[in-house]
């Protein structure tokens, strides 16, 4: 087993917890002293930095949510003067003001370390040729992976997103061994490759590290089969640091969270009660080493489960299960919680059905309706109406039994569901428009 930083990744739980507590206390003192918004919140909750004397004491601290970032737009949550900030990233502000995150030089080092760990965990090393097809720019995916791959000493192709035929050409000509992008883009690349008449045997691709959107096990199987690679899930969010917060190991049984840098909890998203290991809930992250933008109990809105059982790979850090979905993407239809990944799993199990789909939720009168739009690929297309209707009925039946609600399946033309080079849009909720 190869590690990037064995001492940290395989540290004993006792030593890890000591380190976490020391770093937590330091972080709490720092935000209380330098970030007025945190001081106000702590004071309102009646908690002082001196009250934090064990890891459990973190529960005394108030949560931080996305709107705290927006309310302090752009830089008011920064804990260092701007002269110390060397990089700024920002999320797209599709629902209101964008959120802004900053990094000191040391933060960038930490981030690169975490990404180097992640890449190593997926089998990459200094001999790897890493094609980074995450978007470069304000989005943390591109530069985050880039600096980590350089730290690792691999040869990085900063191809960024888009121009898929050229991506395939680069992969072939430069002998790319590791691909990094969103899972939906990886699948789109596989499709374009096929159209170009290029097979996995023409490439040297061995592994892919895919993240920035939730994806199912069936999607993993589909990607691994169509590109003939090992596909690893990576987790991160810009508010915390970007990609590299957690990564799968060869065991592919959850993602190891870099606990020397992040303290994690799972809470009930409604009651905010902290839940024990093994119980599904919302992931809450406190940064332990971030300088520019420390986060105290940040509610990620990502739903997962934590597993503390020692992993066969030897890493001691807790594993989070593949994110089931983001609470933002979850749609509640007639009281039933539906995640796009559930629909994806069903579709991928039906032969020939492409995993390009869109959930459209609408309200007619007082009733909510779910329409699932599924692309008709050449594999499932027939010149006979009856066969397509049978297929539609089969998809409907499978979806209804998996989701437990009535579904209207609409067969649509290919590419009419936007191919995303960044994050795929999976849900349109017309009830909110």
């Amino acid at each position: 087993m190869t590690y990037w930083d064995k001492e940290k990744e395989c540290i004993s739980r006792k030593l890890l917890e000591d380190l976490q507590l020391r770093r937590l206390k330091e972080t709490v003192y720092r935000v209380y002293a330098f970030v007025p918004a945190y001081k106000e919140k702590f004071d309102a909750a009646g908690v002082k930095p001196d009250d934090i004397n064990s890891l459990e004491d973190i529960r005394k601290l108030p949560f931080t949510i996305k709107s705290d970032l927006r309310n302090n737009y752009p830089f008011n949550l920064f804990a260092v003067p701007m002269s110390e900030v060397v990089r700024i990233h920002s999320s797209s502000g599709t629902t209101g003001k964008p959120t802004v995150v900053g990094y000191t030089r040391k933060d960038l080092d930490t981030w690169s370390e975490l990404m180097a760990r992640a890449l190593t965990s997926a089998g990459a090393d200094r001999y790897s040729v890493i094609q980074n097809a995450y978007g470069y720019g304000l989005f943390t995916g591109g530069l985050g992976v880039h600096y980590g791959a350089e730290k690792l000493g691999a040869s990085v192709i900063p191809s960024s997103g888009g121009n898929t035929k050229r991506q395939v050409m680069l992969m072939q000509d430069f002998g790319t061994t590791v691909l990094t992008c969103t899972p939906s883009y990886a699948l789109f690349m596989a499709e374009v490759m096929e159209e170009m008449g290029i097979t996995p045997a023409d490439l040297k691709l061995k592994a892919g590290i895919f993240g920035a959107e939730p994806w199912s096990e069936d999607m993993r199987t589909k990607i691994e089969d169509s590109l003939k690679i090992k596909a690893f899930d990576i987790y991160g969010l810009s508010e915390i640091i970007g990609p590299g917060v957690a990564i799968e190991c060869d065991a592919k049984n959850g993602l190891h969270i870099a606990e020397d840098h992040f303290l994690v909890e799972i809470i009930d998203p409604i009651t905010e009660e902290v839940l024990p290991y093994g119980t599904p809930g919302e992931l809450v992250i406190t940064t332990l080493t971030k300088e520019a933008l420390p986060m105290i109990r940040y509610r990620t809105r990502d739903l997962t489960t934590l597993d503390i059982v020692p992993c066969e790979c030897g890493r001691t850090h807790v594993r989070m299960q593949k994110v089931l979905g983001r609470s933002d993407d979850m749609v509640i239809i007639r009281g039933v919680n539906i995640f796009p990944s559930m629909v994806e799993s069903v579709l991928l199990r039906i032969k020939g059905v492409s995993p390009y789909y869109l959930l459209v939720v609408d309200r007619k009168g007082n009733l909510d309706f779910l329409e699932v739009q599924v692309e008709v690929s050449e594999e499932i297309f027939s010149d006979e109406v009856r066969r397509l209707e049978e297929l539609g009925a089969l998809i409907t039946k499978e979806l209804e039994s998996a989701l437990g609600i009535a579904v209207k399946v609409r067969l649509v033309e290919p590419k009419s569901i936007a191919r995303s080079e960044g994050k795929a849009t999976r849900v349109i909720d017309k009830r909110k428009i």
Partner: protein, 142 residues
């Protein structure tokens, strides 16, 4: 035996005109056409002057396309012409998936496109009764 091009169409305004525009721009003539539709989608079936090229350019234009083997049968252009062909097919137990008429005629006969379950069996049955059907090259050149 002849090649029919089948195209998946959503029931949205402008989709059919898109297909015909793509073909027209590529100098491909449509010889016969039928649309089967439901409330959600339609299937366009066409016989064109150059099916290989039509398949390629429609695919490039983003449509879901397939090639289907059909038979173009010459029906005497007189009352009862189609009926006698259909009766013969029923006698021979030939299952017809669908049929549609050709645009224009040849040698005073009407042309009807048949999609049958077993195309070789159908051809043999037609030969037996001396019912004429066109080969590919005759058909595309019409």
């Amino acid at each position: 035996m002849a090649k029919q091009i089948s195209v998946f169409l959503e029931n949205k305004a402008g989709r059919l005109s898109n297909v015909t525009r793509v073909l027209g721009d590529a100098q491909i003539n449509i010889r016969a056409l039928s649309i089967a539709d439901t409330s959600d989608f339609g299937i366009l079936r066409i016989i064109v002057s150059d099916p290989v090229k039509a398949y390629k350019i429609l695919k490039e234009a983003g449509f879901t396309v397939s090639e289907t083997q059909v038979i173009a049968v010459q029906i005497p252009d007189s009352p009862g012409g189609l009926a006698s062909v259909l009766e013969h097919m029923a006698d021979e137990n030939l299952n017809i998936e669908y049929l549609y008429a050709f645009l224009g005629t040849t040698e005073n006969d009407a042309l009807v496109i048949f999609k049958v379950e077993d195309i070789e069996k159908a051809e043999a049955a037609f030969k037996k009764k001396e019912i004429k059907f066109l080969d590919e090259n005759q058909l595309y050149r019409l």
